[in-house]
């Protein structure tokens, strides 16, 4: 079976210049992630895994190399077009501050749809649907301050799902949670993967990585191992 690749990185480098000194956050990284995969990108802090996540998530542009999203070249697109692609194809889950404060769970989940021009009634319908998937069908009107850490992260997952993205990108999704809540989040992510979602988790925690079907280890801006 030919797997269509969601993300395809070809010799991607990211160089920072600090005065006279050059520093490579990523150096010639090539990587393919196919539809339906559950990938963990692991590495110590400063290894370049955050930079890699930003480039995969179209939040940052590589200094050199090529990035393909669903077969389309995307690394040289304008900011406006990249925003549109992020909106339609990538669902983000962040470690901290992933929700708007003083804003209900429902409205938080609706937010990406506002930027895709979906009408109010359709936004609500879809947001309720995904909040039910993550088990928060009863907490639609709760503000983040009225939700536990695990519940907040599930709202964030619902928001990542709301646009039916090609790829869910999670940055240390359990970093701020106690082990029980973290476990629930990981189970939820596994379940979503079983239902066909492509998931990439960036973490430094090897326990979390163990849940993934594929582990990519990165060190000093290079992939040092790739596999299970």
């Amino acid at each position: 079976m030919v797997q269509k690749s969601v993300i395809d990185l070809n010799k991607v480098s990211k160089k920072y210049e600090m005065g006279e000194e050059e520093f490579y956050a990523l150096k010639d990284v090539s990587l393919k992630i196919s539809k339906g995969e559950f990938v963990a990108i692991v590495g110590p802090s400063g290894s370049g895994k955050s930079t890699l996540m930003h480039i995969i998530g179209l939040l940052d542009k590589p200094t050199s190399g090529e990035v393909y999203l669903e077969g389309k070249k995307v690394h040289n697109l304008s900011e406006v077009y990249q925003a549109e692609l992020r909106n339609k194809h990538i669902g983000f889950i962040f470690q901290i501050f992933s929700l708007l404060p003083r804003t209900s769970a429902l409205e938080n989940v609706e937010m990406p749809l506002i930027y895709s021009g979906v009408s109010k009634s359709q936004r609500e319908e879809r947001a309720i649907e995904v909040l039910k998937i993550v088990g928060l069908g009863e907490k639609l009107q709760n503000k983040p301050s009225q939700l536990s850490g695990g519940q907040q992260q599930r709202v964030a997952i619902a928001r990542a799902l709301v646009n039916n993205p090609s790829l869910i990108l999670a940055d240390e999704p359990t970093g701020n949670l106690d082990s029980k809540s973290g476990e629930e989040i990981l189970l939820l992510l596994s379940k979503l993967n079983d239902e066909g979602n492509t998931i990439v988790v960036v973490t430094h925690d090897s326990d979390i990585a163990g849940r993934a079907k594929r582990i990519i280890t990165i060190k000093d801006g290079k992939i040092v191992s790739d596999g299970k």
Partner: protein
């Protein structure tokens, strides 16, 4: 993107910081309220003066001795009263001219003291022809006015303004009493209605009218200071001016008279008041600019405070334009709310002030204030909003 959604967002964030929003709006509130107050004051004054002119008698043209300069460039001076060559014959000829001219009258103003039983008041004594009262809309409250036979027979009678009658006689009856002006002893035949001071000319409540012939003997001069001509209708003013000029040119030298109409005087005064109103409004508008700077300042703070929100919105697909619009609208809503409150305060203040002072709120000053406050929001909201829209999502998400 959905505008009603952005609108709701901005209202929510304004409500979230009530004290801060109120203080920010205060600048706009003060600016808008003072623009409306000052403009209504200026316009009220303009209306008041125009009204006074109309009370004075509409459709009048005035012949003055000498070359009078009024809105006609340089080289003309004040009226040449001393060398006046205007006579009572001119008045009666002009009155009989017909055509556009309805009537003509003369009124000579002389400053003089009027005395009654040891009380003395220095005032304006006007020697008038019988029809002067009718032309200038002077109404008699008690007794009678100056009539034709008073003038022709040189009767020693006087008509008092309400103010001067009260000064001299208090509550007691003035009719039939004898007053002294200069060497003349005059019997009071009438008292005028209260009028207030007319826009131009003398203070009607404090003036004394006598037959023009008596006035001439008080002043010791036969000269007429002015001839007032009543025109049948507003449309015929220019033909009346032409007829008057034509008649006078057959009698006098070109330099001996000037023919002026009220519209000339009124437009000059209106112009001056218009400039004054604009200047007052302009000064008040400076406070609007200060209010705008206040909005800009608070919006910059808001953008910094909400850096993470901006990063998150961008990460999930907000384009720079979406962020720009969101923050500009927030600034505009803030300044429009201030504008609306300012309009209510300004209009309310003008209304209260109109009880004691001429003031009138005009539609244009309100709509201008509303427009300007929206504009202030846009102009001063753009810089902070641009700053927000240019934030890099990665930096914004990491911002502590």
């Amino acid at each position: 993107m959905d505008f009603s959604e952005i609108f709701r967002l901005s209202l929510r964030s304004i409500k979230r910081n009530k004290t801060r929003s109120a203080l920010t709006m205060l600048g706009i509130i003060i600016g808008v309220a003072s623009v409306i107050l000052l403009v209504s004051l200026g316009q009220g004054l303009q209306k008041y003066i125009t009204g006074q002119f109309e009370q004075l008698g509409t459709n009048l043209i005035i012949v003055m001795p000498g070359k009078v300069g009024l809105g006609e460039g340089f080289g003309h001076g004040p009226p040449n009263f001393a060398g006046s060559k205007l006579t009572l014959k001119h008045v009666s000829d002009l009155a009989r001219l017909g055509g556009a001219i309805e009537d003509a009258a003369a009124g000579n103003e002389i400053p003089a003291a009027i005395k009654y039983k040891g009380k003395s008041k220095y005032t304006t004594v006007a020697g008038i022809t019988a029809n002067y009262g009718k032309i200038r809309n002077i109404e008699v409250a008690k007794g009678r006015g100056i009539n034709v036979s008073d003038v022709e027979l040189d009767r020693k009678v006087a008509l008092l303004g309400k103010g001067i009658a009260e000064t001299l006689f208090g509550q007691s009856e003035a009719l039939g009493k004898e007053v002294t002006i200069g060497k003349e002893k005059l019997k009071i035949v009438g008292v005028l209605k209260q009028l207030g001071s007319g826009g131009i000319g003398f203070d009607m409540d404090n003036f004394v009218a006598v037959p023009i012939t008596v006035g001439q003997s008080i002043s010791g001069s036969k000269n007429l200071m002015a001839i007032t001509i009543k025109v049948k209708s507003k449309e015929e003013i220019s033909s009346a001016i032409n007829a008057t000029k034509k008649y006078l040119s057959s009698q006098l030298e070109e330099d001996d008279y000037s023919v002026l109409d009220q519209a000339n005087l009124l437009s000059t005064i209106t112009q001056i008041l218009g400039v004054l109103t604009a200047a007052l409004g302009g000064i008040a508008a400076i406070s609007l600019v200060v209010g705008g700077v206040g909005i800009m300042n608070i919006m910059l703070v808001t953008v910094t405070e909400r850096t993470k929100e901006i990063g998150l919105r961008k990460a999930v697909g907000a384009k720079p334009k979406d962020i720009l619009i969101q923050f500009v609208i927030e600034a505009v809503v803030l300044s429009l709310l201030g504008g609306i409150i300012g309009i209510i305060i300004g209009a309310g203040g003008s209304f209260i002030m109109s009880k004691v002072f001429p003031a009138s709120v005009s539609f244009w000053s309100v709509s201008l204030a509303f427009g300007v406050s929206a504009l202030v929001g846009i102009v001063f909201g753009v810089a902070p909003a641009l700053k927000a829209s240019r934030l890099n999502p990665i930096d914004a998400l990491r911002y502590e």
